[in-house]
């Protein structure tokens, strides 16, 4: 066996050019596949990220009766035993921030608009959500201030600018009418258009005071690693809170079912495209492997003439193929990683294409990729196997031929 490995290795270096070209074919095929996959994955992840890190969090804990009536923001259905809930969740590696969303009427010009307001704790919220980074004008909220942070789209609709006073009319937890006069301290432009157009943020302490919340909170927003597959964590959360009555733990997927359909999910065309890339890569690999082996009938003939057994010959070729496959796959990983790095870090900026859109604010035209380790692993294994498989067949032919025929061919 050692001899065969050594033979295979020697052959690889002997036919350096062939090895390189073949390995290159594998590498390019693999690299482009991984790059495209990273792109598609990134776009999908981006839209999910937009939901999670700008709007919903990875999951929410709320009272079951609140969840049932989510659209009306029933302030009376606040979370009971809030500190106990938080205590239970902390050891699960879950990070939390408290929120009180409510609906309010804002007055502009001649009419009014109903928007969604979120009472947030600027400290914890600023750490977990990415809204802070999206602030385009002014600044993020400070705890306790009479300030409002609004989306750029909303600012445009209200014709509001930094420093303007906005009046909000709403109902308290008990049902009394309440009004706020808030100064616009910041305008944000996030990748989430819904947030930009219909959300406004103000400090939780202010909301607590004005809406008669008395320290109660209606939503506990959770973040955890592995947010893209939240089901398992949500189950853990449910278990941890099992004995506390009337609570619901909901993942962002469930919360977003309304939006979900409208997001850039996995389009079928993308899958088809990847499949085609796959095919071409397979063709590239198989083609070169086949050719490489085919050209060596003489060699095979000689080896047989010298007494090597058929099995040994096939094995040696297989090992060679594996070797090329390995080099190629590694190269492919490197190329894929390099291309992915480009698209993950900088992405492709389409903003210039989208400029001149009469939409008031810039639509972010940045397409970013994302690291997809499973794809790397899977593709690596495939490249390796494919190389071996595609060398198997021609080798078989070679060993079946007459030795003399082998020697004669070239």
């Amino acid at each position: 066996m050692r001899f065969l490995i050594a033979l295979a290795w020697k052959n690889l270096s002997r036919y350096r050019r062939r090895t390189i070209i073949t390995a290159l074919a594998i590498a390019v095929g693999l690299g482009v596949y991984l790059w495209m996959d990273a792109w598609i994955y990134g776009v999908k992840l981006d839209s999910q990220r937009n939901l999670v890190f700008y709007e919903m969090g990875a999951a929410k804990v709320m009272k079951a009766s609140y969840w049932k009536d989510l659209g009306s923001f029933p302030l009376k259905e606040s979370i009971e035993n809030l500190s106990l809930v938080e205590e239970r969740l902390r050891p699960l590696g879950v990070q939390m921030t408290r929120r009180v969303p409510f609906s309010g009427e804002v007055f502009l010009g001649e009419g009014s608009l109903f928007i969604r307001l979120e009472g947030i704790d600027p400290v914890s919220d600023g750490r977990l959500f990415r809204l802070k980074e999206s602030v385009e004008q002014g600044r993020y909220l400070q705890p306790g201030e009479q300030g409002l942070l609004i989306g750029a789209g909303l600012a445009k609709d209200l014709k509001a600018a930094l420093g303007d006073l906005i009046t909000v009319r709403c109902r308290t937890r008990q049902g009394a009418f309440q009004t706020f006069d808030l100064e616009v301290v910041g305008i944000l432009n996030s990748p989430n258009p819904q947030v930009n157009r219909r959300y406004a943020y103000l400090p939780l302490s202010l909301v607590d005071e004005m809406l008669q919340m008395e320290g109660r909170v209606t939503e506990l927003v959770l973040f955890f690693s592995g947010w893209d597959r939240p089901e398992q964590k949500v189950e853990q959360i449910k278990t941890a809170l099992a004995d506390l009555p009337g609570l619901a733990a909901v993942s962002w997927k469930l919360l977003a079912s309304d939006y979900f359909a409208a997001l850039r999910g996995d389009t079928i065309g993308n899958t088809l495209m990847l499949f085609l890339v796959f095919i071409i890569a397979a063709v590239g690999i198989s083609n070169t492997m086949l050719m490489a082996v085919m050209e060596r009938h003489r060699e095979v003939g000689m080896m047989r003439a010298l007494g090597m057994k058929d099995g040994q010959i096939r094995l040696s070729f297989l090992l060679e193929a594996a070797g090329i496959g390995l080099i190629g796959a590694l190269g492919g990983l490197a190329l894929g990683a390099a291309l992915s790095f480009w698209i993950v870090t900088w992405g492709v900026d389409y903003s210039s294409l989208l400029e001149g859109m009469d939409y008031g604010y810039r639509v972010k035209g940045l397409m970013r990729g994302a690291w997809h380790p499973e794809a790397f692993a899977g593709a690596f294994i495939f490249a390796l196997l494919a190389s071996m498989v595609f060398s198997f067949i021609p080798t078989g032919r070679a060993v079946r031929m007459q030795i003399a025929a082998c020697l004669r061919s070239q």
């Binding site: 009306s72 007055f107 001649e110 109902r171 049902g175 009394a176 309440q178 009004t179 006069d181």
Partner: protein, 244 residues
């Protein structure tokens, strides 16, 4: 001796007459003029916002404070009915095959786009059950002597936590009301435009409600052919009867 007793009676009477009236008494007197055993009228609602004015006409029936039926007669909403039974609101639409029972948050919606919400219709069981009233004094409003009262919500759930009302001192009828939010901001005001003397009562028959936070938003409410306490068949205030 008789002259002395007479003089004493006059003195006591004068003292009694000169005694200051309380806020609660004013409100009760006002509500006596507003609440009737039965009442029916032809009504008009003129709703104005930045898109213009729209007029709705209706027939209204009420019994006490608990029961009310409004049947719309204008062409666009003809046949629609609103039935109030205690705290519950039921809507009937000619083109619907079931009766809509408005509940919860839906009650906060405005009626026909006016400045009244269904919640406003479900009404309170009298102001005094919800508010603590205090008499701030007498004022002149549009040439009439009025009592200026402040009403502070007793519990935290009252929709308008603070109200100021001006009651016509002579007619004991509401002249104007200001409705405030918890923050103290003026939300709406209500002005009584016309009062009629019917069945021994001074009844407000026309008033205007304005949303003071919007530039252009008002609802004008008028009652004509008002008949009070002349009896009404109780079955008209039933769900079954809505679909006649």
């Amino acid at each position: 001796m008789k002259r002395a007793i007479f003089a004493l009676a006059v003195l006591i009477g004068a003292a009694w007459a000169g005694r200051a009236i309380s806020a609660e008494e004013i409100i009760r007197a006002m509500e006596r003029n507003q609440v009737h055993d039965t009442a029916e009228a032809d009504g008009t609602l003129v709703i104005t916002d930045r898109f213009g004015s729209r007029t709705k006409t209706f027939k209204s029936f009420s019994a006490g404070e608990d029961k009310m039926l409004i049947a719309f007669t204008n062409p666009e909403e003809k046949g629609q009915k609103i039935l109030k039974l205690q705290e519950e609101i039921y809507l009937y639409f000619p083109e619907a095959e079931e009766i809509v029972h408005l509940q919860g948050g839906a009650l906060k919606q405005s009626v026909m786009g006016s400045d009244f919400s269904y919640e406003d219709l479900t009404g309170e069981k009298g102001l005094l059950s919800l508010y603590d009233a205090s008499l701030l004094g007498e004022e002149e409003l549009d040439g009439r002597r009025t009592y200026h009262l402040r009403l502070k919500g007793k519990k935290s759930g009252v929709a308008y936590p603070l109200e100021e009302i001006w009651v016509d001192a002579e007619l004991m009828v509401l002249k104007k009301a200001n409705l405030y939010a918890l923050s103290g901001k003026l939300l709406k005001d209500l002005v009584v435009k016309e009062v009629k003397r019917i069945g021994g009562k001074n009844v407000p028959v026309a008033f205007l409600m304005r949303d003071k936070m919007k530039k252009v938003s008002s609802t004008e409410f008028k009652l004509a052919n008002l008949r009070i306490d002349q009896g009404l068949p109780p079955k008209i205030f039933s769900r079954e009867n809505l679909s006649w």
